[in-house]
Symmetry: C2
Subunit: 253 residues, 2 copies
DNA sequence: ACCTGAACACCGTTCAAGT
DNA sequence: ACCTGAACACCGTTCAAGT
């Protein structure tokens, strides 16, 4: 008994019936799925529901097709992820950049950070390193160029770029921690067990949790920090860390 | 923290069947598995074969038991990971630290980075944020303390710590990219398809791959970098990025 | 109390077959 | 050429039962 025998009858047909130019006579069955359609739908899933909910079966269902039909257009899930990556990189805004190299630097870095903030799932994909988002390469080029224009050698520019990249990637990855599912306002009823009880409505904050755990030990700075770590963290930003890096990496004005 | 909140409400006492006379009379079957044993074995798997090979079934097999036996000692896989984390944090070296706060800072940061280098799998676990390795908390404390001793306010110290942490986490996460399986010297026979051909024996390097992909575009700095990016990268290090951050974050001497 | 085996609801992917 | 369904080799976890 196939569990999914019932189809969602009227789904999205007529969507990709763009004109066939009639030039090339195709043989065989006309395609009902296209790479672009697959990537667009996969992107919507990833954007709306997070990268971890993207499975081949889930995608197929959204396409009104089967998991294996997707494999006819895409080699495997890795390639699919790479295609989604390209899809978002392509549409990234590329505003005019300031002349001053130092301002250009911080502008591009913030563009990069914001792009990741909108698509945090790309960072783990990028960090795996076997993938290059061609359409976002201009950012790397601009950063390197601006660093050189600030007076660094090419070697120093690469090093500074590495540091900036690690910092950016690390921050995006660490910000993508909370699942934030549907249980926001409603208690799920699960016992907290060894987990620290949330201070109020929010999830346990790192310094608070740390201090609570290290009850016995003598960690004055941690304790002091835990007191108002939320406020202090609210005043931290990507720009602050970036300023530190640039002030240390660039020749002083 | 309740942790053992579900105490024995059914305190039936003093029935004597198979007396374990001497000390505490245990009832029921004597345990053949212990939490410590489970954690130690799990750590060995993770250390020797990588975090992604750790599955409950694999662990049970290494223990000569079944997957479900493990669940009697450990709530779920998340708790298991946290226990392994504690296990390695506990054995971290804690050498005497230099008096000078600035030297202390770089020393502790390098200790942290090296610890992660030996156990890169912990960074994704830590980045999920719902876990605190109590036994490694002294590093956070030392970093905060040293930053304050360098003249920062507590707020500034926290910010600098955030930047250092993001940088460190990012670098460890990005270094953990290559699977490095068994196909090192032998061609697997798979077609490279759209993937860039390795330059020599090694995996395609980021700038090389990037330039190869962006064939048409005009990216002079990237091209220039690709020429000898391997050598330049070899001269980059954690210390270099850290120095930039600290020079920008600390008051100038 | 501690452990077992079967089973559930998934996953990515291969394969042989249908149109 | 394009799509389908069944099947393989996995996952984490629940459940009822054994000792």
């Amino acid at each position: 008994m196939p569990a999914h025998a019932k189809r969602n009858g009227t789904q999205q047909e007529a969507r990709a019936l763009t004109e066939k130019p009639a030039s090339r006579p195709r043989r065989g069955r006309p395609p009902r799925l296209s790479r672009d359609q697959i990537v667009a739908t996969a992107y919507e899933i990833v954007r709306d529901e997070g990268a971890e909910t993207l499975t081949m079966r889930r995608l197929a269902q959204a396409l009104g097709s089967t998991a294996m039909a997707v494999y006819h257009h895409v080699r495997d899930k890795d390639e699919l992820l790479m295609l989604i990556l390209e899809h978002v990189a392509k549409d990234l805004p590329r505003p005019p950049l300031p002349e001053d190299p130092r301002q250009r630097l911080t502008t591009v870095c913030h563009l990069m950070f914001d792009a990741f903030g909108d698509n945090p799932w790309v960072v783990p994909v990028l960090a795996r390193g076997n993938v290059v988002g061609v359409s976002a390469l201009w950012m790397t080029e601009e950063i390197l160029g601006a660093l050189v224009d600030c007076g660094l050698t090419h070697e120093e520019a690469f090093w500074a770029h590495q540091t900036i990249w690690y910092y950016t990637a690390g921050q995006v990855l660490c910000m993508t921690q909370e699942p934030g599912g549907e249980g926001t306002a409603e208690d799920t009823g699960r016992a907290p067990a060894h987990q620290v009880e949330p201070h109020d409505g929010k999830a346990p904050h790192y310094p608070e949790a740390a201090v609570a755990k290290a009850a016995g030990a003598d960690f004055p700075h941690l304790v002091r920090l835990a007191a108002d770590s939320r406020d202090i963290e609210a005043r931290y930003s990507y720009g602050r860390g970036l300023r530190h890096i640039l002030e240390g990496a660039l020749p002083s004005v």
